[in-house]
Symmetry: C2
């Protein structure tokens, strides 16, 4: 039959041949690019879950519940319904916790860079190849990152990993108490302070240390034999101020908690260079749930004691978590500061809106921090702290938490930070939805002020 085809089909034949070649090209060039084998199912599962948009007001997780085989959306506060599209306007703005979800969109936008495939046989041993509990590559990248950002000196320093900086806080107290002197150490800090310093130190009821109060009570006690461990948070939680240790003397040791010492939140005037410095992934990349922190330590005896602590309490940090941290920090260090730009822009923007909202109020105020020269951006910049340290100025508003709660805002009481009940902390690092709702509630509250300033 074919031989009877008229010659005019020749054109079709050429077209067909060209098509063949194109298709072959497609198959063997376009489509020879790699396809997963054993990792396929895991990749499919992850992308299927990620494809749930949840209306932009939630997300589905790989370990979330399934309904009819479909991953369930977990909605932002005040959003509900199967796809998180239903907003409850009467629901209070919850700005209590320090959940750093403002960085979630960054990782969604950089999905390929944050993705990690963990094999079923990843580092099953208790230790790494060098018999330590610490990934050498991760330690290298942490040092590299500090050097790029210029927020901490790590050359010639020891590094210990912890299950979040939380674990390292107590590890540091325990170690400094043992290496400092033989008498029981008193743990102090300056008001307003991060509540865990007190609650954690109290909780463990150690023979070697106990929480004894505010630094101001001990200023004159350190020239003698007083064995004091001072927690210093810089920038401070809750008020965002850069801080230095107050106490001096041969038996005064400081633990410098630098959780927020990153360009998202503060100008970096110079690299920190204290004896014991603590950092955490939580406020750097936003991965609070990963529970990963590290300490940078000058003194070898303190380093040995802190390593022993993390070994005794948990044989070090999960290898899976260390792998996740490496993936994230590699990208942060390789990138041209994208996450810092994203973080800073988001926070600055939120501070601008908050400032504008409160500018008409004489009833409420927030902390003021002077602009400072930032070595990262090489210019003077405004601070953009993680929290607003919010004050009720009116005499009758003694319980500021209650004032805000009545207006549909859940804050964190100032008294928890050792401060007056006129103060509360508002978290500005949660989701955009949380922030928007806070501003909506605050705007109403401020507009109801008698004698609100006219803009």
């Amino acid at each position: 039959m074919a031989e009877q085809l008229p010659p005019k089909y020749g054109k079709c034949f050429v077209c067909s041949m060209v098509l063949n070649m194109l298709l072959i090209l497609c198959l063997f060039v376009g489509h020879t690019n790699w396809k997963p084998s054993w990792s396929m199912r895991a990749a499919m599962e992850a992308e299927a879950v990620a494809s749930e948009s949840c209306s932009g007001h939630g997300r589905a997780y790989l370990d979330g519940l399934l309904v009819d085989g479909k991953p369930v959306c977990e909605c932002n506060t005040c959003f509900g319904g199967p796809d998180c599209s239903q907003f409850s306007p009467d629901c209070p703005a919850d700005v209590n916790s320090g959940n750093p979800l403002f960085l979630e969109p960054f990782w969604m936008q950089n999905a390929a860079s944050g993705a990690l495939l963990v094999s079923g046989w990843h580092r099953m041993s208790y230790s790494y190849d060098d018999d330590s509990n610490i990934s050498e590559e991760l330690e290298k990248h942490i040092r590299k990152l500090h050097s790029i950002v210029g927020n901490a000196v790590t050359e010639g320093r020891f590094i210990v990993f912890g299950t979040g900086s939380t674990q390292l806080l107590n590890a540091a107290v325990h170690s400094l108490a043992l290496t400092n002197s033989s008498s029981r150490a008193g743990v102090v800090t300056t008001k307003p302070f991060y509540p865990a310093y007190k609650s954690q130190t109290d909780f463990f009821r150690s023979v070697d240390y106990n929480f004894v109060g505010d630094t101001s009570q001990f200023k004159n006690a350190t020239d003698g034999n007083a064995n004091i461990i001072e927690f210093v948070t810089s920038p401070n939680n809750p008020d965002g101020l850069l801080k230095k240790a107050v106490l001096e003397g041969p038996h005064a040791k400081a633990i410098n908690d630098h959780a927020y010492f990153w360009p998202h939140y503060t100008a970096i005037p110079a690299p920190a260079d204290e004896d014991v410095m603590i950092f955490t992934l939580s406020k750097l990349t936003g991965h609070a749930g990963s529970r990963f922190g590290w300490a940078v330590i000058k003194d070898e005896a303190v380093y040995q004691a802190m390593s022993a602590y993390t070994s005794q309490i948990s044989f070090g940090v999960s290898h899976d978590t260390q792998l996740v941290a490496l993936k994230l920090l590699k990208f942060v260090a390789q990138g041209k500061g994208e996450i810092f730009d994203f973080g800073f822009e988001t926070m600055r923007n939120r501070w601008e809106i908050l400032g504008k909202t409160l500018s008409v109020s004489s009833r409420f105020s927030v902390q003021e921090i002077e602009p400072q020269y930032c070595s990262v951006y090489q210019k003077v910049r405004d601070p953009s702290p993680a929290y607003a340290w919010f004050k009720c100025e009116r005499e009758e508003d003694e319980d500021c938490y209650a004032v805000l709660r009545a207006a549909g805002i859940i804050s964190r009481q100032g008294t928890l930070f050792g401060a007056d009940s006129r103060y509360v902390r508002l978290s500005l690092i949660k989701t955009q939805d949380d922030f928007d709702l806070l501003i909506r509630k605050l705007t109403i509250l401020v507009s109801e002020e008698d004698g609100a300033k006219i803009m």
Copy 2:
């Protein structure tokens, strides 16, 4: 030009058309099956690393060192060279640690089932959707697994997660000391015992508890007001015996460490049903490096105290680790006991070989455990404990560790377990290479015996 083609090309045209159709089919049917988008790079990286065979005597890891862009093989003990093919015959057999690497081949053989893709925005919050630190799905699967295996009653019990069972040991001591009575609690255990019970309890130097010694000293002290916390390991580490609490009385509480209460190591006579039971991923799936354990608790006050402990020390367990544990346990629970078959077969095989090797010796012996009825396999089975509790029988071999060390075997001293120096622990759960080398060294040692039994 085309129109001048002779009609005989018609056949070619048809062929070309058929080819067109086949290629299109290939492209749009064969190749429409799913391809990863943002997860592609992660999948490629993981499969590239996994494709390093390391001669079967090592493996490359995603967070290992790179040399010339190629992941470096991390070799089993006594193997070296770029591909781990070089064996050092004079290198000692190291059977000191309890690294459960005998299960590594299982996960390599089940690569697709163990693979997990973690997105860059996986559960960044401190807490899960229900404000807890615990993945609901993971808890569900843990309960399911205990019910399938029949090794623990979990109905109506509370579950707490820890950074390895290690963290939960101290969490339990701390909590029982607080909830038990107001006097300082004494922590005890029965020799030979897992050294961490003493070292960890000593390390934290608490006001509320301290390690006071062997249960035998306290048998008669518990009818009064003695406030005692007894560690019970069943099967016991190091000797593999099933154990029950020794002490009784209103102020005697037990922490039942069931790390090895899985079919790999022991017959399961009946589900355990004690007040505080501790389990770990390490000895179940072999993932010691993931640092994940759980406690099953009867009493709500103890549960609350242990939850508070894990919150204070680290805000719970890494969400990445919980995701890894879920992936692994889902497979273990879904499968038809493959991992138990694999684990038991491997261990039984090792015990057979060890038994044969030692059968000609009168100088050395190992523990004997009676066969027991196993509810999992529904038959009487021999035990296959994780460790050989090895004894030097000759009067002059007082330091059994030194005897073995001289023969090229690194064991763990019996004295570390509170036992006589005539005893050492040999780990049988490390890699096949470690086991093979142990047998090689033991065979030589036994063959040198004066008057070795003739087989």
